[in-house]
């Protein structure tokens, strides 16, 4: 691509900003327009359910890049710009305001949308998901109201977002109930042994956990404000704020309507290329088919940034596959969970550290193996284990189980001259 080229980026979140900057790093000199449908300059999402909600960050601190910083890189940011359609044959994008923009390369970083709760009353005021800055403002306002009125919070869905909100609400002294449809917390991402530990953590902080909870409807008062959640079994949980965290769906509608192959997300290869040679995609809006046939959808900051770098390279005609080990983190109370790898399909797990200790003093990692091969490591307040695990997983080196279980033993790859030697040593 040359100086006449023009790249349009649809979506100004983590992935969108990263693609824009990666293009400049790779020496792209054409025009870059970053289109965001929200009114805000690009911001960090992770703190929304944590430090920002707790009130320890101000709004300016959420900003990912100040507008001037983007201008210096000759990246044109347009906020409040909604895309209505993509014409892949003509290589144009139609905006909701009626204008049309041509492109030589198009980047889709459209993100994801929280799943709505399909029950009566879900439209009541005080019922919200938490994805955007505006969502977070709604949650924050209602949390303040809960504090003033001495009323409680119900979280529907025991996933990361829900549990982070639960922890923040407990820190404010509010009564919190988490309603989870499955028999355990974080069932989609964590092995049962960790789900149990997280249940212990939240109970120790006074959160009421209800499993296999089937929500029948949301109850509202005469003013239309939420006042509780009714389950199918008839039980009622009173609340002045209901936060719904029951997953997201990829924003692949624009891509699908333009004829791109989509399957629970915009299908991309390992370099972020879609089924259209002039369109790449990155972040939460994407899905990828692995060699074994499974569909991989990752919703994380790392996936957004790494796919973005790959997608930018692909637009420049370069191969930069994203093959690094997936990693995630979650902050709840004073506990930091860091996950390296994907534990799905594990047949054995080994604990390093003391998992049975008082939850407030815990520091441990759970190593997941399948037929002796390390798949993933979940670390709680054990950042060193996490970073070493990522190096092992990136190098496809599996430590011996007894070595991992022995706290006196260094299991990392750092002490070895190279990967081959490390592999032999094990």
């Amino acid at each position: 691509m040359n100086a006449d080229a023009s790249v349009l980026i649809v979506g100004a979140g983590q992935a969108g900003v990263q693609v824009a900057e990666a293009l400049r790093t790779l020496g792209f000199t054409g025009s870059i327009q970053l289109l965001g449908d929200e009114p805000h300059t690009p911001y960090h999402r992770p703190p929304l359910s944590k430090a920002w909600l707790a009130g320890t960050l101000d709004a300016a601190q959420l900003v990912m890049r100040a507008p001037q910083a983007l201008e210096r890189k000759n990246i044109t940011l347009r906020t409040g710009a909604k895309v209505a359609a993509i014409d892949a044959a003509r290589k144009t994008v139609h905006l909701a305001d009626g204008s049309t923009l041509p492109y030589t390369g198009l980047v889709l970083t459209t993100g994801a949308t929280p799943r709505a709760l399909a029950v009566p009353g879900a439209q009541a005021q005080g019922v919200t998901a938490l994805r955007s800055r505006d969502d977070a403002s709604v949650v924050a306002q209602h949390l303040d109201r809960c504090v003033e009125q001495g009323r409680g919070v119900v979280v529907i869905g025991g996933g990361f977002i829900g549990l982070e909100v639960a922890a923040t609400a407990r820190k404010k002294g509010l009564a919190v109930t988490v309603l989870e449809a499955a028999p355990r917390l974080l069932g989609r991402v964590l092995a049962p042994v960790l789900s149990d530990w997280y249940a212990r953590l939240h109970r120790s902080h006074g959160v009421q956990l209800v499993f296999q909870a089937q929500v029948a409807r949301i109850e509202a008062d005469a003013a239309g404000l939420v006042c509780g959640v009714r389950l199918v079994d008839g039980s009622l949980f009173e609340a002045a704020l209901v936060v719904v965290g029951v997953g997201v769906t990829a924003n692949d509608q624009l891509a699908a309507a333009a004829g791109l192959v989509c399957e629970r997300g915009i299908m991309v290869d390992v370099c972020g290329r879609t089924s259209d040679p002039f369109i790449v995609a990155a972040g939460d809006c994407t899905a990828r088919r692995l060699a074994d046939g499974t569909l991989l959808r990752l919703e994380s900051v790392q996936n957004a940034t790494e796919q973005a770098k790959s997608a930018a390279a692909a637009l420049m005609g370069q191969e930069r596959p994203f093959t690094a080990t997936p990693w995630f983190w979650s902050d709840q109370y004073d506990t930091k969970l860091q996950i390296a790898g994907l534990s799905t399909g594990a047949d054995e797990w080994v604990v390093r550290g003391d998992m049975a200790a008082d939850v407030s003093a815990s520091s441990f990692s759970v190593f997941h193996f399948r037929q002796g091969v390390l798949l993933a490591v979940d670390s709680v307040n054990a950042g060193k284990d996490h970073l070493q695990a990522r190096k092992l997983l990136d190098a496809h080196v599996s430590p011996a189980r007894d070595r991992v279980a022995d706290l006196a033993c260094d299991f990392g790859i750092n002490t070895h001259a190279n990967h081959d030697e490390a592999a032999r040593a094990y």
């Binding site: 900003v63 890189k73 900051v301 983190w329 930091k336 970073l387």
Partner: protein
């Protein structure tokens, strides 16, 4: 408020005025200083905001937490006695004029 000077590995020097309570990472990323990544947004979870603090003033900073020390053990560039994570250093008036050097690589 404090003026903080960031010196990137190529010698590029930028001085930013940070509000009280802002982390050195937030100031750098918001203003597009490329030598700091801050992938996790400042949660002390990724070790990509590694910086070298002016040694003469190292003692003025609050000591690193256990979490920060764990992350520092695995930074991409060389770890030195004055290595810190920029997300864990909060601007205060006392830090006026602080100089931090940024490593060649963060990942």
């Amino acid at each position: 408020m404090a003026n903080i000077t960031y010196i990137e590995s190529n010698g590029q020097s930028t001085t930013l005025q940070l509000n009280e309570g802002w982390s050195l990472m937030q100031g750098a990323t918001a203003n597009g200083i490329d030598g700091i990544i801050g992938e996790c947004g400042g949660s002390c979870a990724c070790a990509t905001c590694h910086c070298y603090v002016d040694e003469a003033r190292l003692g003025e900073l609050p000591a690193p937490s256990e979490g920060e020390l764990a992350m520092l053990e695995n930074v991409a560039a060389e770890r030195r006695p004055n290595s810190r994570l920029a997300c864990q250093i909060k601007a205060t008036a006392a830090l006026e004029g602080l100089v931090v050097h940024l490593p060649e690589t963060q990942e």
